[in-house]
């Protein structure tokens, strides 16, 4: 292909507008690059690894969140089918005559009754949801009927049950179910069928039977758990509402599901932010490795320029090469992310279970949007990280051929260049954080910049600290330390970017760790105030969560119990959405354990017991912008009733907020079957184990009781707390790992370049031990300095997370608690990871013979 040149005069010079190199020359250029990579694949593999880990973090978080939510939706779909609304009663159930009346009315044909309860299966010892359906009407809601066409085959079988998988429990085998002190053997009659008529392997957690058998087993003859409706319009729901008695509630399922999913949004955003942080750190690594790959081939690039390749052609080829690297990294990142999500899914679903709603562990899914997102983010990250070095590579001059080193002279220039970037990022981040309104995503963007800014200033700071330390080190630390410090300064063009990545990772890790520690400290403090009782009792009997009047009366007669408080918690849907309502029948001394935030210092005991008053938690107040004195309208058995907010208190038990009523108010306005939790204050000297036994032996006590001491419950709460942050820890360490890889990479690159210098130093009498120590000292000092710089950044991040992100995410404030050990640990991690990163380059130097190094020269 001939070279086409069009020239135009511009500012006294001729511009070549079009230039094309022949295909064969392009192919040769590609061949040169590929052979070069094959000859020395290490840097290439590290660049691919950088992209891989960055993408894996995003994919892992995305798949995990998606799979957990999908499981939630699947469970909802299986349970609710095509239902748009549900009618529910109180915990005791719904009179089935209501269903009969609705069917007789004739205006709502698409309706089906459901009896549902959690039962225990003897064969596997697990809790399952037993779903009792009416096969004759259920197809209207769950189109192909949960039991499929084979339903008719089971007619005649006593106590039939359908299971998700007949490979585990074959047809004809028996399952023993426990509920409320009763047990019953069921015969496996078939599989639960999904909409496609295929065996639904994902229907884990659900057992299905005819409603008649379910009612009999659950002792709910004449009662339903709910009635499902498929309504076509809003008008239908209004008509239905009029038809229903006041004691039952009509729930819009779409609204409820959306509200439930919204609850997890902040949690998922926080996880996603950590994923993106890993990608950000990986981008530094990509930048660093791209710079190295180009520096390593500087001579080659100069030769190509001398022969006649233009800088555009070289930059284009380097871009193509980087795209191939990105593609490989993205593909592997998706695979690794999938593996990572297998590790995280359990942790995330456990956290969702603890914090939000029940969801089974389910199966992993790789959604198309995750693949698209990872491809876009992977390419974007690589392009941003690689653009500057590739652009500079295109401008490698032919004169480079006569020069040995080019980059080292740029060390100070680099650090100076990064300084305005650092200040700009920091300022912009602070502004965004201040003016981001309530948007969590924008706040996170601001936070990223806020952390990135000081990290970008790391090379400048390291340069100047080393400049200051250099003269001091010579006298006190000896030749090795002095040379190491001089080297750090002069090789910042190589190590500076890795130091930024390390500082960024360590500061983020420290910030998150301090925030989690502050949170834990606040929760611990809150528990100390809030949980004043000695024993806490709950019934674990399936179907019998409530304490009967007779049990309460018996407890009152037990010697050694000073006072007993009772409480229960229900979920309600008001005009403010879906939230929990806590009702408490407690003594004044227990009430004083509430940490009242507003009005400060107020004694609200009397007002709490007055009619139509309510306490709300801080997170509820922040989420719904409610203050003391405001009214909240709640759906009650007496219709919508306004409750006055008399106080706001600190609570960490529910991130989506909590309304708290006195038992009097609760009893008057909400249908209830009694309390579900008892808390007891004991007389001094009472032995806890004896008291536990005494309560368990009470005649009216539920068959299965969980009795925990204050210490046990406190430990359990803090264990749960720690579990909810395990997934955060994985991502935090992943980020540090990426940064550490970057440091190894930079130091290896540096040693490759310094092989001839090392050989010369060996030749003049430096021992291998001295050189190895120097390399390791260089790494350690860089890591130590990066760690020191990370301290103020980590503290700032911690404060931002506590004051801004947590308030927006969860609506609660917390005490700032700075544990000096965590700060020291961060510096230690930074120093140790950098030191570890220095070992391999030192070993490499150790193995390289002097002659090989001198030959390179």
């Amino acid at each position: 292909m001939p070279t086409g040149i069009a020239r135009s005069r511009m500012a006294g010079s001729t511009k070549i507008r079009k230039f094309e190199v022949s295909n064969s020359a392009t192919a040769t250029l590609l061949k040169i690059f590929l052979r070069e990579q094959k000859k020395s694949p290490g840097p290439l593999l590290l660049t691919v690894l950088s992209v891989t880990i960055g993408v894996a973090a995003i994919v892992g978080v995305d798949i995990t969140s998606h799979s957990a939510l999908s499981e939630f939706e699947r469970a909802n779909r299986l349970s609710s089918g095509l239902a748009t609304h549900q009618v529910v009663g109180d915990a005791t159930g719904l009179d089935e005559n209501i269903y009969a009346a609705i069917r007789l009315d004739g205006r709502f044909p698409n309706t089906a009754p459901i009896v549902q309860a959690e039962v225990q299966v003897h064969e596997d010892g697990q809790a399952w949801q037993l779903l009792g359906i009416d096969p004759l009407s259920d197809y209207r809601i769950r189109e192909s009927a949960l039991l499929g066409d084979k339903y008719t085959e089971q007619i005649g079988i006593a106590w039939p049950i359908h299971v998700p998988n007949t490979e585990t429990w074959p047809i004809g085998s028996t399952l023993t179910l426990y509920y409320g002190g009763r047990q019953q053997e069921f015969t496996v009659a078939g599989e639960v069928f999904d909409e496609s008529g295929q065996s639904d392997m994902h229907a884990e957690g659900f057992l299905v039977t005819d409603i008649m058998w379910a009612q009999a087993f659950l002792n709910r003859v004449g009662l339903l758990t709910r009635i499902d409706f498929r309504l076509d319009s809003e008008v239908d729901s209004h008509t239905l509402q009029i038809l229903l008695p006041d004691s039952v509630r009509l729930i819009d399922l779409q609204t409820r599901h959306t509200a439930q999913k919204d609850m997890t949004r902040a949690f998922r955003t926080n996880l996603a932010a950590l994923g993106y942080l890993t990608l950000l750190v990986a981008m530094f690594l990509i930048y660093s490795s791209t710079v190295f790959q180009i520096a390593r081939r500087r001579n080659l690039l100069s030769q190509l320029r001398a022969i006649g390749y233009t800088h555009h052609e070289i930059a284009r080829m380097l871009g193509t090469e980087l795209s191939i690297i990105a593609l490989s990294g993205i593909s592997m990142g998706i695979g690794l992310g999938y593996l990572l999500s297998t590790l995280m899914l359990g942790l995330v679903t456990d956290t969702i279970n603890i914090l939000y709603f029940d969801v089974a562990h389910g199966t992993l899914e790789l959604p198309t949007e995750t693949i698209l997102k990872s491809v876009v983010m992977g390419f974007l990250g690589t392009a941003i990280a690689g653009a500057v070095p590739i652009r500079e590579a295109g401008h490698v001059t032919v004169q480079t051929l006569s020069k040995r080193t080019l980059e080292e002279g740029k060390a100070l220039m680099l650090s100076r260049k990064m300084l305005p970037v650092a200040i700009g990022c920091f300022g912009l981040g602070a502004l965004i954080l201040m003016f981001s309104g309530q948007s969590l995503a924008i706040a996170f963007a601001g936070l990223f910049l806020l952390v990135l800014g000081p990290a970008a200033g790391t090379p400048w700071l390291i340069y100047h600290i080393c400049r200051f330390l250099g003269p001091l080190a010579g006298g006190t630390l000896g030749l090795v330390a002095k040379t190491a410090i001089i080297n750090i300064r002069s090789h910042l063009s190589r190590t500076g970017i890795s130091a930024i990545a390390l500082s960024l990772a360590v500061s983020a890790s420290l910030g998150v760790a301090l925030m989690v520690d502050s949170f834990r400290y606040s929760v611990d403090n809150w528990i100390s105030h809030y949980m004043r009782s000695d024993l806490y009792v709950v019934s674990t009997m399936p179907g019998e969560p409530y304490f009967s009047e007779s049990f309460r009366a018996e407890v009152a007669t037990v010697d050694g119990i000073q006072s007993t408080g009772y409480s229960t918690r229900i979920s309600i849907q008001s005009e403010l959405g879906l939230h929990d309502l806590l009702a408490m029948d407690i003594s004044p001394s227990s009430f004083h354990g509430f940490m009242i935030l507003s009005p400060p210092g107020a004694d609200l005991w009397d007002r709490f017991n007055q009619s139509r008053t309510v306490l709300i938690t801080e997170s509820f107040a922040n989420r719904h912008d409610i203050s003391v004195g405001d009214d909240i309208r709640l759906p009650t058995t007496q219709g919508e009733v306004s409750f006055e907010v008399i106080g706001i208190y600190l609570d960490y038990s529910s991130e989506h907020g909590l309304l708290t009523l006195s038992w009097n108010n609760f009893d008057r306005y909400f249908p209830n079957s009694g309390p579900t939790t008892a808390s007891m204050m004991l007389d001094p000297g009472v032995i806890l184990s004896d008291m536990k036994q005494a309560i368990g032996n009470l005649e009216a006590a539920p068959e299965q009781l969980l009795i925990r001491s204050n210490r046990e419950l406190r430990e359990q709460i803090l264990n749960i707390f720690d579990r909810t942050f395990e997934v955060t820890d994985i991502l935090r360490w992943l980020t540090v790992l990426v940064a550490m890889t970057g440091m190894i990479f930079s130091l290896v690159a540096l040693q490759l370049e310094r092989s001839s210098l090392n050989a010369k130093l060996k030749a003049v009498g430096f021992s291998r031990v001295q050189l190895a120590m120097q390399i390791i000292a260089e790494a350690s000092i860089t890591g130590f300095l990066a760690g020191l710089i990370a301290i103020p950044v980590g503290l700032m991040l911690c404060l931002s997370l506590i004051e801004v992100i947590n308030v927006r995410s969860f609506g609660w404030t917390m005490m700032t608690h700075i544990d000096p050990m965590l700060v020291l640990a961060a510096v230690g991690i930074s120093t140790l990871s950098a030191t570890a990163a220095g070992i391999y380059p030192a070993m490499r130097m150790w193995r390289t013979p002097i002659t090989a190094g001198l030959r390179d020269e």
Partner: protein
């Protein structure tokens, strides 16, 4: 080349390397440029190769004013009209001899198959190394390949910077013989050298001293 001046900034002190230099050469010329270290020999070659641009003056090669071209323009011009030979051979290490020689032909979209290259290698006694990689060649062989690569696409001008600086006398003479043959094929060769024996191969001799170029008669 007319009125060429080039001043470098050394630690904020201007240093004039070339001062109002005029120079003309024709095809078939083999010009030796000599002078002490740092006198500006390499800078002179860089100017002619479009690698560097003068602060003042014009450089016209085959009717094209290099000083009026931008970086890309100069590269494209160099690709077609100029061949470069360096002291350290600078063959592409990941390409074998034939592939190294093919590169300039491909860049100029010229016929580049073995039938073009092998006869050249035979002519200069390198056919046995056709498929060898540069690191398996001796210094002299590498430099001969580098000279052939610089000349293979028949550029008007070949610039050689200390082509024998890294070779022993015997190998140096073989390379210089080759350079003379290339020159006699019609290319103008300008060679910067320290070596008296190398300069004896040239048919024109110039010296750069104190920034000025003097042609020895």
């Amino acid at each position: 080349m007319a009125g060429i001046s080039r001043v470098f900034d050394d630690a904020n002190t201007p240093r004039t390397v070339l001062d109002n230099v005029d120079f003309t050469a024709n095809s078939g010329d083999l010009v030796a440029i000599t002078g002490p270290s740092g006198s500006g020999k390499s800078t002179f070659l860089h100017m002619l190769g479009g690698i560097d641009i003068p602060d003042r003056g014009r450089i016209v090669i085959n009717g094209t004013d290099l000083t009026s071209l931008d970086e890309t323009g100069r590269t494209l011009f160099r690709r077609k009209h100029i061949g470069l030979v360096f002291q350290f051979f600078n063959l592409i290490p990941t390409l074998n001899v034939i592939e190294n020689l093919r590169l300039p032909l491909e860049l100029c979209s010229l016929k580049s198959d073995d039938s073009v290259i092998l006869p050249l290698l035979e002519r200069f006694g390198l056919e046995h190394q056709a498929y060898s990689y540069p690191d398996l060649l001796s210094g002299g062989e590498q430099q001969r390949v580098a000279v052939i690569r610089a000349a293979i696409h028949k550029p008007s001008l070949i610039l050689a910077d200390e082509p024998t600086g890294n070779l022993d006398d015997c190998q140096g003479h073989v390379v210089l013989d080759l350079i003379r043959q290339v020159s006699s094929d019609g290319s103008c060769v300008i060679m910067a050298t320290h070596s008296q024996s190398a300069s004896e191969y040239a048919n024109r001799h110039c010296t750069i001293k104190n920034g000025r170029l003097h042609e020895d008669s």
